[in-house]
């Protein structure tokens, strides 16, 4: 990683720190009449962008540094979101439509008599937070263990990650599965006793998201900077070569994949209280692919590029879906096509061009050997 990129990273962190302090001030302290006033809905929107940015950093960790294009990261994000959503559901208590102190409304509606085991403990915040980390992490561990051990790579891996999120997408749609079915979880009231409607809660969630993004970046950066990170990139560039010098490639991939899934889960957990709902559509394969384009547009293998890409693309999405709703999909489609064709290193790559020797196009050892003598 170039020194310039690290400098940019520091700048990025500095901006986030400023934002984490400034945004609550502009929202809570500045008078609504002032030109600098940030209304709560904007704070919420910015907070949402930051959650997407965290997801993008997570994805970049596996795609940019390990060559795993996961088309299922939306699943980890959504699982983290559901874990948070379950906590928020349990917090509603008797304020629900059916005023059942234990059962969330949808369970009463489905005529369930008792709380499913999967929901136990979610009224306790630390347990819910543990699940935010544990559920995506364990899924990634199980899935990755199978996939990497059997050397599923490249597009095959992308396709089965997509199948994974698709399976969850379908499963969560079922009422019987016990997580609110089609409607998902919503009508949240408060988080740790703070009303989700309050401007102060929104500001706090924004700051929390900014801090989480800083931590996600810092952790990823530390991982990349270690010898492990060098090994990980070597796995990306020449996987079988790494095997022949004695590295357990599958373990290297698995660690990155699990860490990435956990970061994505945390992003989802921060996202849900800010948007007020989590439903199965978060598992839709399209969401995961969209996350990949944020990373591609921002510049993969740069971490901050991924975050910037997420924020930029989502800002554009907010703008275009409001101003020209029928053209947004054309825009997004073109972004996918033109971005991959003309910006292989992303926006940040464009900005950094010339600052380091042009790396060769990576062709894996496997591909190289294919043409060898029979």
């Amino acid at each position: 990683m170039s020194a310039r990129l690290d400098h940019l990273g520091l700048g990025f962190v500095a901006i986030l720190i400023v934002a984490a302090i400034l945004v609550p001030l502009l929202s809570l302290v500045v008078s609504p009449d002032s030109a600098f006033y940030l209304p709560p809905y904007l704070v919420q929107l910015l907070g949402k962008y930051l959650c997407y940015a965290i997801l993008a950093v997570a994805l970049d960790l596996v795609w940019g540094y390990c060559g795993i294009l996961s088309l299922g990261h939306g699943a980890f994000f959504a699982l983290g979101g559901y874990a948070m959503g379950m906590y928020l559901m349990r917090q509603i208590g008797t304020r629900g439509v059916y005023a059942n102190p234990i059962l969330p409304d949808f369970m009463v509606f489905l005529n369930w008599k008792e709380l499913p085991v999967a929901w136990w403990g979610f009224n306790w915040f630390p347990y819910a937070m543990l699940m935010v980390v544990l559920v995506p992490g364990l899924l990634a561990l199980a899935f990755g263990w199978f996939a990497f051990r059997s050397r599923v790579t490249g597009v095959y891996l992308s396709i089965i990650t997509q199948a994974m999120t698709f399976a969850l997408f379908k499963e969560f749609f079922r009422n019987d599965f016990g997580f609110g079915g089609n409607n998902g979880l919503t009508d949240f009231k408060d988080l740790l006793g703070f009303s989700l409607q309050a401007a102060s809660t929104k500001a706090a969630l924004f700051s929390a998201s900014a801090i989480a993004l800083i931590l996600a970046y810092a952790v990823s950066r530390a991982i990349i900077g270690s010898k492990y990170g060098k090994a990980l990139m070597a796995v990306r560039d020449a996987e079988s070569r790494m095997r022949f010098i004695g590295y357990r490639v599958e373990n290297y991939k698995l660690f990155a994949f699990v860490v990435s899934a956990i970061i994505a889960g945390i992003a989802g957990a921060l996202y849900v209280p800010q948007v007020g709902i989590i439903n199965p559509s978060e598992f839709a394969p399209a969401n995961s692919i969209e996350a990949a384009i944020w990373v591609a547009v921002g510049g993969r293998g740069t971490l901050i590029g991924a975050a910037i890409g997420a924020i930029a693309v989502n800002f554009a999405k907010t703008y275009f879906t409001g101003a020209f709703p029928e053209y947004w999909l054309y825009g997004l489609g073109l972004l996918f096509v033109l971005g991959t064709l003309f910006l292989p290193k992303g926006l940040l790559g464009l900005a950094l061009r010339g600052s380091e020797p042009k790396p060769r196009e990576v062709v894996s050892v496997d591909a190289v050997e294919e043409g060898a003598e029979p």
Partner: protein
């Protein structure tokens, strides 16, 4: 299957017996047997399709043999292990086409190859000690890459990449080195230097060199095994082997 007078299993470094591999009916190896003693350097020659690379694949765990025995150090059954385990036991491999980590610096290439714990935890939290640094410095000097240590490996010349790869093998410090066509595409002087380097390495390592270049093999001056159609055709000094009428026939045709 092993030849008369061959040493007992426990004395060998590498012991292949009756190894067969086939791909979709094509027999790449037919009951191949080969014995390598500790400290020995061996050259493997043979025409295209003789099974040289497949043999390397079997030894390094890339390809599982359909039948046969592959023992390392007299006690490790290599057919049961995967690439990383075999590499950790002390088998290093240099590919025909130089494969270095093109986006890493020369120094990082060597660092990754250096003999050190390979677990995720070790690489994640470990710090490079001065000993590692000394090893790397020494290898950089041996492979004449000291001036290029901070360069991205992808920008090296072909010969430099070959040397870097040999340097990475040295950093691994394996008991057995498998070297596939190390001088392909090298100039004469580079070839000569490479032969020197390999002989140097052979002093404290066992080496198997696969090579087409007969001048190079002669320069190495070691025992030669000629493979043909997946089995050993002849074995001995280069002069003996090249005098063997069957070898002549295989190389020159009828």
């Amino acid at each position: 299957m092993s030849e008369a007078g061959s040493p007992s299993l426990t004395q060998t470094l590498l012991y292949l017996d009756g190894v067969s591999v086939s791909f979709d009916g094509y027999k790449a190896l037919r009951s191949l047997s080969l014995v390598l003693l500790p400290g020995e350097m061996r050259a493997i020659i043979g025409p295209n399709g003789a099974g040289k690379t497949t043999m390397m694949d079997v030894i390094t765990g890339k390809t599982r043999p359909d039948e046969g025995e592959v023992m390392f150090d007299g006690r490790h059954d290599l057919t049961k292990l995967d690439e990383a385990e075999i590499a950790t036991l002390g088998v290093g491999r240099k590919f025909q086409k130089p494969t270095v980590f093109e986006n890493h610096t020369v120094e990082d290439n060597l660092l990754l190859a250096t003999k050190a714990p390979r677990s995720v935890r070790a690489t994640l939290f470990g710090r490079e000690d001065s000993e590692t640094l000394q090893t790397i410095n020494a290898i950089l000097a041996t492979t004449r890459l000291t001036d290029h240590r901070a360069r991205i490996a992808g920008s090296l010349s072909h010969g430099q990449k070959q040397w870097l790869e040999i340097g990475m093998l040295l950093a691994q410090d394996p008991k057995l080195l498998l070297v596939d066509e190390p001088v392909a595409g090298m100039t004469d002087s580079e070839t000569a230097a490479t032969a020197d380097l390999l002989r140097e390495i052979a002093r404290d390592h066992s080496v198997i060199v696969v090579e087409h270049d007969m001048h190079f093999v002669r320069e190495l001056g070691v025992k030669v095994t000629c493979l043909h159609e997946g089995a050993v055709l002849a074995e001995g000094t280069l002069d003996q082997v090249s005098a063997d009428p069957r070898v002549v026939e295989v190389y020159l045709g009828r």
